[in-house]
Amino acid sequence: MTGRFVSRGFLGRPRDTDADRAGRIPPGQYLTDGFPVLSAGPTPQIPLGQWAFTIEGLVRAPVRWSWEQFLALPARDWTVDISCVTKWTKLDTRWHGVSVDDLLAAVELDPRAQFVTAHSFGGYTTNLPLTDVVNNQAFVAYQYDSAPLEPAHGGPARLVVPHLYFWKSAKWVRGLRLIEEDEPGFWESLGYHNRGDPWREERYSGD
C-alpha cells in the first residue's frame, strides 16, 4: 500500500510549520514562488482587435463580446491558490477579471446544459461540469499582479478555475460552449483525469 514504502535516506525539506500554509498545499504538491509556464505548443499571438469571447451552445441566444466590450463588464480582483498537475502550487496569486457567473448572466441557459467546454485560440479545449464554474468558483482573467496578462501565461485572457488542476484554467480562452453531455477536452483525451481535483490527487485517468 502507499505510505508504507520509505525511501532510504530521504528526509525531505523541513516541513512548513505554518499551519495555515501547510493546510493549503494539496497532496503531492510543492510550493513555488515562481510562475512556471506549461503549454503543448507555441504561444498564440492574438491582436486585441481580433479578440472576442463568445458563449454558445445550449443557450437561448449566443453572446459575443469584443475586447472593449469585455473590459466594460463588471470585473473584480481575485486572490487564489493554484496547483498545476506538474506538482507546483502557488499561493495568493492575484488576478483581475470577470466572474463566469456574470458572463452566464448575459445568456439564458437551456436547462439541459450540464457541462461546458472552454475553447481557446490555438485550438486547446478543456471540459468542466457547469457546477465547477458557477457560484464564483471561476473567472476569466485579463490581469495578473496588476499588469496585463502576459501571452505566455494565457493573455489576453484566460479562464481561471482555481479549485481544479491548472490545465482546466484554459489559456488564450475565446469562449465557453454549454453542452448536455460531457466531452473530454485536449488533455482529458490524452490520459489526464476528467475532473482534476488537486485535493483528491485526480491527476491521471483512473486516479
Binding site: 532510504r8 513555488t32 505548443g41 507555441p42 506538482k87 491527476r203 491521471y204
Partner: protein, 246 residues
C-alpha cells in the same frame, strides 16, 4: 483512452552513470512496465519516515525496450529537494517509487515519420534523446536535426552518443550552440537561439518539419515563436517545459 490506473511501482536502481558534472543517468528496473512512447515521462515519489512525500516528473531517456528498463537523466538543482537525492543518496540496488508512462502529446513514434526538428535546452534534451534513440533503433528513414543549446561544452549531455549517432547516420544533423563559453577552435553557434539559427536548423527539412521543443521557458518561447514567424504551422510544433520557473 481507456481509463487505466497508473499504479505506483517500486523500481530498482540497476545502474548509475555520470553524464556531466551536474547530470547523471539512472537505469531503473520497473516490474510489469508497460512499454512507453518516446517523449513520455514518469512520476517519481520519495517518502520520508514520517510519511512526508515529494513527487516530481522525469522524462524517459531510453528508447522503448522489452525488458522493463527505464533510463532517467537528472540534472542536480542546487537547493532542490528531489534531484539532489538522486545525485547524492541513491546507489545501485536502491529502490524508488515510480508510476507511468505518462503523457500523450509530447510523444513521437516511428509511424509519425518526419522530417524531425528537435530543439533542446540543457536537460530538455532528455525526451528528445529518447526520440533519437528510437529513431536509430527502428532505423527510421526520415531526416532529423537536433539543435541543442548548452552553456559550455562540458555541460553537453550525451555528447559522445550524439557524436556517434551523427557520424553513422547522414540523415541526422546535430547543431550545438554554447551560450556561455566555447572551447578553442569552436565552429558551432555561440549564442542563444535566434531566427537565423532556426533558419539554419530548418535547412534540408522542408518548410513543415514535425517539431519538438523542450527546455526552459525562455528558450521554448524563442524557438516556438521564431519557427511560427518562419512559417511553420503551430499545429506541427509540440512543446514541453521543465526549466526553472519564471
Amino acid at each position: 483512452m481507456p481509463s487505466q490506473l497508473l499504479e505506483w511501482k517500486i523500481a530498482t536502481v540497476a545502474q548509475i552513470r555520470d553524464e556531466t558534472s551536474e547530470v547523471k543517468s539512472f537505469s531503473l528496473l520497473v516490474p510489469e512496465w508497460r512499454t512507453h512512447r518516446p517523449g513520455q515521462h514518469v512520476d517519481v515519489r520519495l517518502s520520508a519516515p514520517d510519511g512526508y512525500q515529494a513527487q516530481r516528473s522525469y522524462s524517459i531517456a531510453s528508447a522503448p525496450g522489452p525488458d522493463g528498463r527505464v533510463d532517467l537523466t537528472v540534472e542536480r538543482i542546487a537547493e532542490g529537494e528531489v534531484s539532489p537525492y538522486f545525485h547524492d543518496v541513491l546507489v545501485t540496488g536502491d529502490e524508488v517509487e515510480v508510476r507511468g508512462p505518462i503523457g500523450g502529446y509530447f510523444v513521437w513514434e516511428p509511424a509519425f515519420g518526419g522530417p524531425l526538428l528537435l530543439i533542446a535546452g540543457g536537460s530538455g534534451v532528455v525526451p528528445l534523446m529518447a526520440i533519437l534513440r528510437e529513431r536509430a533503433a527502428a532505423d527510421v528513414a526520415a531526416s532529423a536535426t537536433l539543435l541543442y543549446s548548452s552553456r559550455n561544452w562540458d555541460d553537453v549531455i550525451y555528447r559522445e552518443e550524439l557524436d556517434r549517432l551523427a557520424t553513422t547516420d547522414d540523415r541526422l544533423r546535430i547543431l550545438h550552440t554554447l551560450t556561455r563559453a566555447q572551447p578553442p577552435g569552436w565552429t558551432g553557434f555561440a549564442r542563444r537561439i535566434d531566427r537565423p539559427m532556426l533558419e539554419e536548423a530548418l535547412d534540408g527539412l522542408g518548410s513543415q518539419p514535425l517539431t519538438y521543443i523542450c527546455g526552459p521557458t525562455l528558450l521554448v518561447e524563442a524557438a516556438a515563436n521564431g519557427l511560427v514567424e518562419l512559417g511553420v504551422d503551430p499545429g506541427r510544433i509540440r512543446t514541453e517545459r521543465f526549466g526553472p520557473t519564471s
